[in-house]
Amino acid sequence: MSTTHHTTGESMSAEEAARLSPEEAMIAGAEADGVYIVHRRERFPIAGTRAEKRAERTIAGVFLLGFLAAVGFIVVFCGAVPYEWRLPGTGSQNYRYFTPLVGGLLGLSLACIGIGVVLWAKWLLPEEEAVQDRHDGASGMTEQVLMAGTLVSGFNDLGVARRSMLKTTLGLAGGALGVVPLVALVGAMIKKPGRGEGQSLFHTPYKAGVPLVYYDGRRVGPDDLQPGGIATVFPGVEGGVKDSDSPTLLIRLKPGQTVKARKGQADFGWGDYVAYSKICTHAGCPASLFEQKTGRLLCPCHQSQFDVLQDAKPVFGPATRSLPKLPLTVEMVDGKQYFTAKGDFPEAIGPSFWERP
């Protein structure tokens, strides 16, 4: 056996290296890399002891369990358990076991492989503590000087200092070209806010005479709601039910409840009916948790609370503006009364934005 531990790869000839055992070669190579193995010991110095066999068997058992779980996954997945959803009472409800089984078995199989591999490393691989030189931080001083020289020489070759005209013009061209992708993308996507059919930030499909309808198109009449009742209504125009700005909350007040109307909106209600935009003025969620006794209206997203009896003024939470009020009136059709809008909301509905006064 040659003494090679302290002979690094650099000073070693190929002949010498070829005579090393793999472990010796590893140590020599590691040292060439600045890695010093300061401690290395077999977990089981005497091979084949009962303890070693037990460790190996345990790990093998874990792998075997992983194998079985994977097979189980395949069996379940390929039809042993149904996966088709069935309405309660119309078929086997066993579909509910499918996902837990495949997920659980997949997890078990993966866990077994993972745990087995880690156990292998912890139980059977040699104990080892290695110390590696970091060689970090800045490069050597010479390196730095040479690098700086290379850079400066290149700059000089280019004449960066002298040819200011080239520098400026290239800078202009490059700068302009650099903006091109941004312009191309933004230019392709940009749209003027409010331009186009149904794109207005200040108007909804409501107009004077537009009927109020339920989500299924039925018209809404004053006989429909009981006191303390609410309904989500929409403008009865093409696309009105789908429009994101038009959901409106029609409220019939309880006897004794009155709404103190805002200035100029005294005639917006009809009888004991009032209608407000359902879209919260804070972040645009439908504010529709209505307490019929207290007249409070709560938005479920950020808990803004509006008091309908104070004309939907925000009384708690982050909202700052009252819910816009829809002017209501009633028309007779075939001897029956139905609601129509007297006009659009007098202000923009929904969350505030810069252009909004």
Binding site: W85, L87, P88, G89, T90, Q93, Y95, R96, F98, T99, P100, G103, V118, K122, W123, Y214, Y215, D216, G217, R218, R219, V220, G221, D223, D224, L225, Q226, P227, G228, G229, I230, A231, T232, P286, S288, L289, F290, E291, Q292, K293, T294, R296, L298, P300, Q305, F316, D334, K336
Partner: protein
């Protein structure tokens, strides 16, 4: 169930007030399509009118203690039994003539048997003291007693009626889609898309619907107990109410296909699980892997 059956049942389900408020109405037509045509609408209006007239008549007939056209209509014995119950448990707060007692309880004139059914069958009434909010408790009375109590209150002032005991309050599975849309539009804002309930302003809550029966759901929509808005039969027809009930109950009964439901309350529960179970297991794993054996 045939359409005729439906019509009969609906007539009984309807809002049939005796003296209060505007005329009672039912909507006995079955709206098969989601967007009724003009003809259908007119037919519906006509039917509503006829139904209203019948119901008003029925309501007046109901006032008479002799009314007993079918099994579910209250007999005079029922009303009498209900009066007994009322006098033992309700009279202190709601008064001898249902007129209510200031500071103790509201008037029950015109609340009808539907309200009684909801309040008493969910154990909210009788309440020991008047509170801002009554929560679900174990009911004090049997179903029969509750119906008797309802019959008495109904006999005194009319109001929305509890559906008869044999009425099927769940629409067929073909109505689930519509029921779900209606539920999400009208109910989910408070009770949640998965019926988990939610807090309202300043300590009030919209309860979960986990233990609600068909009839409780139906009567709740009809009368709007506590702070819940009223959903009259003109706004949400009895058919639509049944579709909503079918949707809610099916959703509750349907098993979770993806493992444990985590209360079906959404991202908050999921976040808790990943931080406790998910990261917990992995923290133990890295402690184990990192430890030198």
């Amino acid at each position: 169930m045939t359409d005729e059956d439906n019509l009969d049942a609906d007539a009984d389900l309807g809002f049939a007030p005796a003296v209060v408020d505007n005329a009672g109405r039912t909507a006995p037509t079955r709206t098969a399509s989601r967007r009724p045509s003009g003809f259908r609408r007119r037919a519906a209006s006509l039917a509503v009118l006829i139904g209203a007239l019948t119901a008003v008549g029925g309501g007046y007939a109901m006032l008479a203690p002799t009314s007993g056209a079918d099994d579910t209509a209250a007999t005079s014995q029922d009303v009498e039994a209900g009066r007994q119950l009322y006098n033992t448990s309700c009279i202190t707060c709601h008064g001898a003539n249902l007129e209510g007692v200031t500071g103790r309880g509201p008037t029950l004139v015109g609340t009808g048997s539907a309200d009684v059914y909801f309040q008493v069958s969910t154990g909210r009434m009788p309440a020991p003291v008047q509170g801002a909010l009554e929560l679900r408790k174990v009911p004090k009375y049997t179903e029969q007693q509750i119906l008797q109590l309802g019959a008495f209150v109904q006999s005194q002032g009319g109001g929305p009626q509890v559906p008869p005991a044999d009425a099927d309050l769940r629409a067929g599975s073909d109505q689930l889609g519509d029921g779900g849309e209606l539920f999400r539009l009208n109910c989910a804002s408070c009770h949640g898309a998965t019926a988990h309930g939610a807090p309202l302003s300043a300590g009030k809550i919209a309860p979960d619907l986990y233990r609600s029966t068909d009839r409780q759901l139906y009567t709740a929509m009809l009368v709007g107990p506590e702070n819940m808005p009223v959903f009259s039969n003109n706004q949400i027809t009895p058919e639509q109410k049944k579709a909503i009930i079918a949707y809610v109950q099916t959703m509750k009964e349907a098993k979770d296909p993806g493992g444990a439901g985590l209360g079906r309350i959404g991202p908050v529960a999921e976040g808790l699980v990943i931080w406790t179970a998910g990261l917990g297991v992995l923290m133990v794993s890295i402690l184990w892997i990192g430890a030198r054996l």
